[in-house]
Symmetry: C2
Subunit: 308 residues, 2 copies
């Protein structure tokens, strides 16, 4: 096999009570990537469509991730990467993660799979480090492993696959405003009160239990974030109105996706997701900014191979 | 039924990554309580054996908890409580919780069970408030519900029963030194760093997942506490040596039980628990303080009715 075409999906990280640890993989939104094995050595990014991103390997998340893999696994071959971006950079649904994870996934396939999906996380994280200023795994993990993942530790990488309740469905709103991840990181305080931290880990523990038991009521009670959301939500237009409209329309929870500006709602079933989508549409339409709304099942597979 | 004799077990709270939320119920250690329905109104504590504790209802955790229940559920009958204490107050294995939970459990039985175990938690918590200065549920919840519990919220009370892996076994060391819960609370900082808080909720989420999957390796990786243990362990003689000896002998995790001075180890199986018990015994024997060691399965039933 000398080339592979893949679909590298978007993802939601910082899922409310799971700030920095919990993420899930989306289905309908994602980039396409073509990766070719060549006789030249090293990594080249030959084409990027759909976004104005650097072709320079050292300045591109896919390039940095690919080089991290090849550093650990030296080979005579070289690799060319074409990226057809459909996830907008800075949207908060894992644009850089899709590219970084896609690059290492594709190269791993072309090398005959020397690494497991879990092992690929460390390489993809190096790409993420370029994008956001700090290496994090909560987007690349669900893209590589599929479904819902919990990052217990990044050093060493220890990511746990959580069960995906069958009817769990996400609604994503991407308001087309600029919001740099680094800026959104700066707004977060260095310390939190013990009281709020205890609430957060109580909620996360409960949410994990709810996923195992498919207990949608408990998911709803535990999808809360009183630590990061109160600060970051200030950067997102109409956040509180969107949240209220979603919950009123039946959402189990509503929060910021990644570091924003995208927001997510989780709900039970496609019909409910459609109602939430309509409610969100109504609120966001009233303020005259461009936006996109996606309805998505949780993608249990992660990256998909389109053709070899 | 006019009287009930019950076994009110000890419990471990503040289980490492689950500070203030996670607790489990012990089997062999506990108080016996006799509760009688009478024609007089109100609550009386008629006898306390084994400990020097106040008979005054307003100053006794069992009395305060019992009165909280009767305030919510007025009745013509009165109740007399006898307590045969075997759990030493201030030991860190839920002495006050056993009395508070036992009182409301017994009265609820004699009233024909108007409340579920989950509903009784709120009343028992009022007794706990008297003992420690703040109402908390992480000991009374596992005593009333059995097994391993997670307190998602105390206001309103929302406690989740977690699964108990079959082979999970606890070793408890009670070094007989005085350590007041209030003092142990004072040593805890009001704020924690975001970094450590994220580690803690990542570990707790992973531990909950490990309980569902009976993944003992993951239990071991996630039974950590970098927030409270570094401070409170300073109050416990030879804590680090005891921890090392336990882990070397095969413990999945080791930490402070409640607010100490008792410490706990969790492991897989009775044989391993016996090895850990021997290792702990060796360390604690060398410093010349009185102590007790208990080996206990997780008590999935909680309070037991001995006779009516």
């Amino acid at each position: 096999m000398d080339q592979i075409k893949i679909f590298a999906p978007a993802s939601v990280a910082n899922v409310s009570c799971g700030f920095d640890v919990l993420g899930f993989c989306l289905d309908p939104v994602g980039d396409e990537m073509l990766i070719r094995k060549t006789n030249a050595s090293g990594v080249k990014i030959t084409k990027i469509e759909g976004q104005n991103l650097p072709l320079d390997v050292k300045k591109n998340v896919a390039g940095v991730a690919a080089e991290a893999l090849l550093k650990a696994h030296p080979t005579q071959s070289g690799f060319e990467i074409e990226i057809h971006k459909k996830i907008k950079a800075g949207s908060g649904i894992g644009s850089s993660a899709a590219s970084a994870a896609g690059a290492v996934f594709g190269i791993n396939e072309l090398l005959g799979k020397p690494y497991t999906a879990h092992e690929l996380i460390a390489f993809a994280m190096e790409g993420e480090g370029l994008a956001s200023g700090s290496a994090h795994a909560d987007n690349v993990a669900p893209v590589l492993m599929g479904g819902i993942t919990l990052v217990r530790s990044i050093n060493p990488v220890d990511v746990i696959q959580l069960p995906t309740p069958k009817a769990l469905t996400a609604v994503i709103l991407h308001p087309k405003i600029e919001l740099k991840t680094m800026h959104a990181r700066e707004i977060i305080k260095k310390n939190v009160t013990m009281e709020k931290a205890i609430q957060q880990w109580g909620n996360l523990g409960a949410f994990v239990s709810a996923l195992f038991n498919e207990d949608y009521d408990l998911m709803s009670r535990s999808l809360k974030d009183e630590i990061v959301e109160p600060m970051r939500s200030l950067l997102i237009p109409e956040f509180e109105s969107l949240k209220k409209a979603s919950i009123d329309a039946g959402a189990l929870g509503f929060g910021i996706s990644g570091s924003g500006p995208s927001v997510y709602a989780l709900t039970k079933g496609i019909d409910s997701a459609q109602k939430i989508s309509n409610a969100i549409n109504k609120v966001i339409s009233s303020i005259g900014i461009d936006f996109e709304i996606h309805i998505s099942k949780i993608n249990e597979q992660g990256i998909k191979i389109l053709t070899n």
